[in-house]
């Protein structure tokens, strides 16, 4: 873990990961992004910040989350599988690691109001939660279509005191909710902080969010060492929409080439079906939401609408760090269909008594594909719990009877 040279997988002094990253924002956002860029390291590395952050992660979020040896699942695949239980975090997913960190940054920047985007509503709930905790006004943009299909999370946000604003532009889903949140920030440049929910957006967001999520791999190292006598697994598996849980799960293993990093993308109904969110399989380099990255787009450079059964993976791009991990071959990207994800989610429920989120089902579905041997150690980042997906699971109960 001692890096003598700068890692090719970490952000450089200019905000790039190789050719990816940067801050492609209109001038209206420049002062906001500059303020964050110039202050995020100073703020987050301050001992008092770290003390408050760690204490909230422990007492409020419930960290460290367990690293669980899944014996029956291991037997099924004839290998050794550990589950990093981010589903046990307060609010039910890893998302809160980031929102806790960012709200502490926002407070130190003197901001009065928080704006956020959300797709499935998990990041929206995690944001509304920390806003309630800190007493800040919270506005969450959510695609009009997502509001209809994720009603329980909309109600949770409202119960927490947040204002949920429907994004009615474009395709009325996550990409447009992100656009609307950025427009809100443009219109309220001085008193508002934008809590982006993933490792996307202009520099320094991808790096800042990855740092907050890096607690996942930091804990995995010590837990794995304690349980197996070794700090590094042979495989680390995580799903990637924008890619925040994967960024956290990979973080401390990026420069450990023996750890195979496996990123599960949503293939939807199949890569060639026209209903997919498999960004690296279908996308090309370009610019999305303020960063140079890989995104799904038309020949003319218009962003195309992704599809996945899982609203959290329903995003046309990936974070710039993931684009670099893909381009350099450091991480392997596997495309997982809706069906494969459902199979894996039902399998985990029946074998281990854990109902995972549909997003996480994509990571679990990689298990039969990676060729893990008997003595290999495989860690799956169990990014979220499946309560929010119960309506979808219920529709398929008969198939798995």
């Amino acid at each position: 873990m001692t890096a003598t040279a700068p890692s090719p997988y970490q952000v450089d002094a200019h905000g790039y990961y190789g050719p990816f990253g940067g801050a492609y924002v209109p001038e209206m956002l420049y002062p906001n992004v500059e303020e964050l860029r110039d202050n995020y390291l100073r703020i987050t590395q301050d001992p008092e910040f770290q003390r408050e952050f760690q204490q909230l992660l422990t007492d409020y979020v419930g960290r460290p989350t367990p690293l669980f040896l899944a014996k029956r699942l291991s037997a099924e695949y004839n290998t050794t599988i550990y589950l990093k239980r981010e589903d046990l975090c307060h609010t039910g997913a890893h998302k809160i690691n980031n929102t806790i960190g960012q709200i502490l940054v926002a407070k130190r920047l003197g901001k009065k109001r928080i704006v956020a985007e959300t797709g499935a509503g998990q990041h929206g709930v995690a944001t509304a939660t920390v806003c309630a905790l800190m007493g800040l006004e919270c506005i969450v943009y959510m695609g009009e279509i997502d509001i209809e299909r994720q009603k329980p999370n909309v109600d949770r946000m409202r119960m927490l005191g947040a204002k949920v604003v429907p994004a009615k532009s474009g395709s009325k889903t996550l990409k447009d909710a992100t656009n609307e949140a950025m427009r809100h920030w443009i219109s309220n440049p001085t008193d508002t902080h934008y809590i982006i929910g993933s490792v996307v957006g202009p520099h320094p967001y991808p790096d800042m969010v990855a740092r907050f999520q890096s607690v996942i791999s930091a804990e995995t190292i010590s837990q794995l060492l304690h349980q197996t006598g070794r700090a590094t697994p042979d495989f680390m598996l995580a799903c990637v929409g924008g890619g925040s849980n994967a960024a956290g799960a990979f973080y401390h293993y990026l420069d450990e080439p023996k750890v195979r990093l496996i990123a599960a993308e949503a293939a939807g109904q199949g890569i060639a079906s026209g209903h997919s969110a498999a960004t690296t399989a279908l996308g090309k380099p370009g610019i999305l939401h303020g960063a140079s990255t890989i995104l799904m787009q038309t020949e003319d450079g218009q962003v195309t609408e992704p599809y996945s059964i899982s609203a959290g993976l329903d995003y046309p791009g990936i974070g710039p760090q993931h684009a670099q991990l893909f381009a350099t071959g450091r991480a392997e990207f596997l495309s997982i269909t809706d069906k494969q994800a459902l199979d894996a989610a039902f399998q985990l429920s029946r074998l281990e008594g854990i109902i995972p989120a549909l997003e996480t089902g994509h990571a679990l579905a990689c298990l039969p594909l990676i060729g893990a041997k008997k003595d290999d150690v495989v860690v799956v980042c169990l990014s979220g719990r499946g309560d929010k997906d119960l309506a979808t699971y219920t529709k398929h109960l008969e198939e798995y009877a």
Binding site: P26, M28, S169, G170, L288, H289, D300
Partner: protein, 260 residues
């Protein structure tokens, strides 16, 4: 000489720049709208290249972008439409405005070549960072005779304004108030102070004010401390509301009403 440069040498006050989205309301309206704006007396015209995710734009221009894309507008299509306009009597300076991704996908050098070949005088790419322009694209834009416009907002620091002014060679686009295009900007004392503060910096480029300029009063107020102003959303609304056969006349009346 570049038509934009020539314009600002000739005219240093009350310059009217009108924006419209290519391919809106109908796919093939581009040249006829250009023609009508020229005849009506617009000093320069900014043609928007539609984009799926225009974050700096408010609802009116977002909707025109979406409609234009549904109509089939692309960067390649726009250059086809602009082919030969300079031979057909269009003399008004033309800027292309758009987001970076479609330009990058088209190919930046090819884009510059096509601009030069069709007689485009300059570009506004709001999400092209100054630093990337300087490092990667500046010589290319210069090689093809394209002038570059940068945006400045009330939150832009004086040091940053000077940096932007040093690299711009078309004009400086002063965003009147924090917000997206089409926001109702009240031309109040704050805006006036910001415009006069910017004037006091003594910039090398002409300055045009945009965002929320919609009529004669806001045009006059915006032009008091600057070289002129830009009208976008209000013009898009006019195009939206006007039946096709009345379009040329309505454009003429609109421009005259701003000048009144």
């Amino acid at each position: 000489m570049n038509r934009l440069t020539e314009l600002f040498q000739r005219k240093t006050a009350d310059v009217l720049n009108v924006y419209f989205t290519a391919g809106f309301p109908q796919l093939n309206d581009t040249v006829s709208i250009l023609q009508a704006l020229q005849e009506a007396g617009a000093d320069l015209v900014e043609i928007g290249m539609p984009y799926s995710d225009p974050v700096a734009d408010g609802e009116t221009i977002q909707r025109s972008n979406q409609q234009a894309l549904e109509n089939g507008m692309t960067v390649a299509k726009l250059f086809e439409q602009l082919q030969g306009i300079r031979e057909q009597g269009i003399t008004v300076p033309i800027l292309l405005m758009g987001y970076l991704n479609p330009v990058v996908q088209f190919g930046v050098e090819k884009f510059c070549q096509r601009c030069q070949a069709t007689g485009v005088d300059g570009v506004i790419l709001p999400d092209l960072p100054l630093e990337v322009y300087e490092r990667q694209y500046r010589p290319l834009f210069a090689q093809y005779g394209l002038k570059v416009v940068f945006l400045v907002t009330p939150q832009t620091s004086a040091a940053r304004v000077r940096q932007l002014d040093a690299l711009a060679d078309g004009f400086i686009y002063l965003v009147a108030a924090a917000g997206t295009t089409g926001a109702q900007t009240d031309m109040n004392a704050d805006v006036d102070a910001y415009l006069s503060r910017t004037k006091a910096l003594g910039l090398q480029n002409p300055t045009l004010v945009g965002f929320g300029i919609s009529d004669a009063a806001s045009f006059a107020a915006a032009s008091r401390h600057t070289t002129g102003a830009i009208i976008g959303s209000a013009f898009i609304r006019l195009l939206q509301q006007t039946p096709a056969e009345r379009q040329p006349l309505a454009i003429k009346e609109f421009v005259h009403s701003i000048r009144a």
